[in-house]
């Protein structure tokens, strides 16, 4: 593999607090040099002036449907989607068929992922055997396996039994694991389709109150506080959840949390013509909730952006609202949508957004070098993403690598395109129609 020189990009590396225009050389899978005026001799040179270079992103919440629903996504299509979205590492949720509740299953998945050489895979293991919510899964064995599972969740469902959730939190303290809560009190959400309020009444759809999430957030925060264990709250969607999270953090509870791009960008008012592409769990909330989530993402109350990438077949998704499954795909639209809606509108600095896509989730998971997060420095494994934040383009879900095309951002005009993803020094994605030349660099620079 030829050595590579990325010349003149703005390097933003949250792991070192770096934000500077630099040349970055890549050799034998690693970053070999970082500096100014590096020589292009003997290297393939990419003129990256005006572009942004970041450590590869980490998506801590995706559904890859493998094993069990390979018609919706496979490990390969899912990890291909990841690198196209700039993610060089992903955590896949264990609600597969069979569920990822034992060491051999997660090891097999990690091995297969390694063979693909796309993004690193960090499977999330089940909290309970078979995701049945009755007895603990062999979390210790999954942790001790080659997959080294650190995070556990029954995502898709909450752990309903409070006693069991408490024991799960107590148990993972033994090896420093983290429990990821899917905060939903199903007795308050059952049958619901959209957020409860004005919109649910107008649409005549059964509703899911904000309370369904907040009751569970409150319970899990209390359990985390009492057990001293590490808790991560998935896909928070309401202002009330943010308030509870803020208070808990202030009390010193060991809790982290994520929000999804769709909850940060869309509200219940965006649901159009009963198109189930807007059907997600938790549901799209009010514009006030969106505002509060954005504030929390900016001030660090929310630690991470995670996509909750959930591919579904068109036969399942293009049907009556009640019958369609919950979920949207997200990896290939996450960065551009967030860049355009949050950074360009001045609500979030670009370095902060990048932090929430790299260091933030890594901390939440307890992922450290060499597994993830060496940053952009000499000797670091070259897991990098190059971003064009200048050129406007249109999101086309039909061109996604993901088998799921259920993307509410299809057709959106955005900036913030992933033009190059490098994993272990290898180019794993290069935007096909992107022009690399000094000229392009000039143009980009002029327009900045």
């Amino acid at each position: 593999m030829a050595d590579l020189l990325l010349r003149g990009a703005r390097v933003i590396d949250p792991f070192q607090g770096l934000d500077e225009v630099l040349d970055v050389a890549v050799s034998r899978g690693r970053v070999s040099e970082v500096g100014k005026g590096l020589s292009g001799e003997g290297r393939e040179v990419l003129e990256a002036e005006g572009l942004v270079l970041s450590p590869g992103f980490l998506d801590m919440h995706v559904h890859l449907r493998d094993p069990g629903r390979e018609d919706e996504e496979t490990l390969e299509s899912g990890l291909e989607a990841a690198v196209r979205g700039g993610f060089t590492a992903v955590c896949c949720m264990p609600n597969t068929d069979p569920p990822l509740d034992n060491a051999p299953l997660v090891e097999d998945l990690v091995l297969r992922a390694r063979g693909l050489g796309l993004a690193d895979l960090f499977p999330v293991g089940c909290v309970t055997r078979g995701r049945e919510g009755k007895e603990l899964a062999e979390m210790g064995l999954m942790f001790a396996s080659a997959a080294r599972v650190r995070a556990f969740s029954d995502d898709g469902d909450p752990v309903v039994d409070s006693g069991l959730m408490r024991r799960a939190l107590q148990y993972v303290r033994r090896f420093g694991g983290v429990i990821i809560s899917h905060p939903e009190d199903v007795s308050l959400s059952r049958g619901g389709q959209v957020n409860e309020g004005r919109v649910s009444f107008a649409l005549g759809l059964r509703s899911i109150p904000a309370l369904a999430e907040e009751v569970m957030v409150a319970r899990d925060l209390l359990l985390a506080e009492e057990t001293g264990a590490r808790l991560h709250l998935a896909h928070l969607s309401t202002a009330g959840s943010v308030r509870l999270l803020r208070e808990a953090k202030a009390r010193g509870v060991r809790v982290t949390a994520e929000a999804t791009p769709h909850h940060l960008v869309l509200s219940e008012l965006d649901i159009r013509d009963y198109d189930p592409v807007y059907k997600v769990n938790p549901p799209l909330r009010t514009p006030e909730d969106v505002k509060e989530l954005r504030r929390a993402l900016a001030d660090g109350t929310l630690d991470a952006v995670a996509t909750d990438h959930a591919p579904h077949s068109p036969e399942e998704k293009e049907r009556e609202f009640d019958y369609a499954p919950f979920g949207v795909v997200g990896m290939e639209s996450a960065f551009p949508v967030l860049y355009t809606q949050l950074v360009e509108k001045g609500e979030l600095g670009l370095p902060v957004l990048i932090e929430r896509l790299t260091l933030g989730p890594a901390r939440a998971l307890g992922l450290e070098p060499p597994d993830y997060g060496e940053g952009v420095r000499p000797g670091a494994r070259a897991d990098l993403v190059l971003l064009d934040t200048v050129t406007e383009w249109v999101i086309d879900a039909s061109a996604f690598a993901s088998r799921g095309k259920n993307c509410p951002f299809h057709g959106w005009k955005v900036r913030g395109r992933v033009v190059l993803t490098i994993k272990g020094g290898k180019v794993v994605y290069r935007a096909p129609d992107y022009r690399w030349s000094r000229e392009q660099g000039e143009k980009v620079r002029e327009r900045t």
Partner: protein, 312 residues
């Protein structure tokens, strides 16, 4: 109107109609209700047109009402009734839509247990779509026939007060009814126990938990059907307790204004939300609603299909 109707080829909810459109429907319905008093109750307006009744929910009365309406306009009527369970396993709505499209029908009347389904059908099907009730969302022809019935009894509706009583939360009749009544300048009160009310009601709708307090100031008492299912969901403790506070019986009716109109979309749970003596009392306009249903549906079909064919 012709041009407008040609563009607005659907009736999905009441807000598809302007106030003028509503007046036109009511006027047209009035002339059709005269036709229905003739010995030969048929006009040739929709000869050669095909109307499909696509019913995913059992509703004999609404389907019959649409069928009679279409036949009196000389349209051909096809009935497609599917039980939801077989549909969930079998042909998708999209495939059904594509089939109907290939068959070249002129209008589809759809009843479906899931809110919003007529909107999906409209996306996949290039013919007039009439919503005959979608989940708990909308039932525009019911709202129009209710207006028609109230007009016949009360004349001008401006400033009149209507109370919808019962399961507001799950009622498409109430959802479309609120819009229609507010658009006509009526005052609307929603009366129910809090567990059968939505958390937010549209602007202009007053909420009360107390039927006895509301009755004396109403011109119309609109009783909604309360399903057994709601009891199982724990939305009220027992049928006895429900009827004690929310049933319209003769004793309660005594507190009402003399000319009060009692309505119900049917089918009634006699002894639950309405006492038999009230359902059969002269105040009740319940059978008048059924008759109005045919006239109003004739008017809607006629205005959507019979007029406003584009010349170009």
């Amino acid at each position: 109107m012709a041009g407008e109707a040609a563009e607005r080829r659907h009736l999905l909810d009441v807000d598809d109609l302007t106030r003028e459109d509503v007046e036109r429907v009511l006027e047209t319905a009035r002339s059709f209700s005269e036709v229905m008093r003739r010995p030969i109750k048929k006009v040739p307006s929709l000869r050669g047109k095909t109307v499909v009744n696509l019913f995913y929910e059992p509703s004999t009365r609404t389907r019959l009402s649409f069928e009679v309406a279409a036949k009196r306009l000389s349209a051909d009527v096809l009935n497609f009734t599917a039980s939801t369970s077989s549909v969930e396993k079998g042909e998708s709505l999209k495939d059904t839509a594509l089939t109907l499209r290939a068959m070249g029908v002129d209008a589809v009347v759809i009843r479906h247990p899931v809110a919003g389904t007529p909107w999906l059908l409209r996306r996949w099907l290039d013919v007039s779509v009439l919503n005959a009730g979608d989940g708990m969302h909308a039932h525009p022809t019911q709202a129009l026939l209710d207006l028609f019935t109230m007009r016949e009894r009360l004349g001008d509706l401006e400033g009149r007060t209507i109370a919808y009583v019962g399961d507001i939360l799950h009622s498409r009749v109430a959802r479309s009814g609120f819009k229609a009544c507010l658009a006509m300048g009526m005052r609307v009160v929603a009366v129910a126990p809090p567990t059968l009310l939505p958390p937010v009601l549209p602007e202009g709708v007053e909420v009360s938990y107390d039927l006895d307090e509301v009755i004396p100031r109403c011109d119309v008492l609109y009783m909604l059907r309360v399903q057994k299912e709601r009891l199982l969901e724990g939305r009220f403790p027992s049928p006895q307790e429900y009827s004690r506070f929310y049933q319209l019986n003769l004793e309660r009716l005594r507190a009402a204004r003399p000319g009060v109109v009692v309505m119900h979309p049917g089918p009634m749970n006699r002894g639950m939300e309405i006492a038999s003596e009230v359902a059969d009392a002269p105040h009740a306009a319940i059978t008048a609603q059924v008759a109005a249903g045919v006239a109003v549906r004739m008017a809607v079909l006629f205005l959507l299909l019979g007029m406003g064919e584009r010349g170009d």
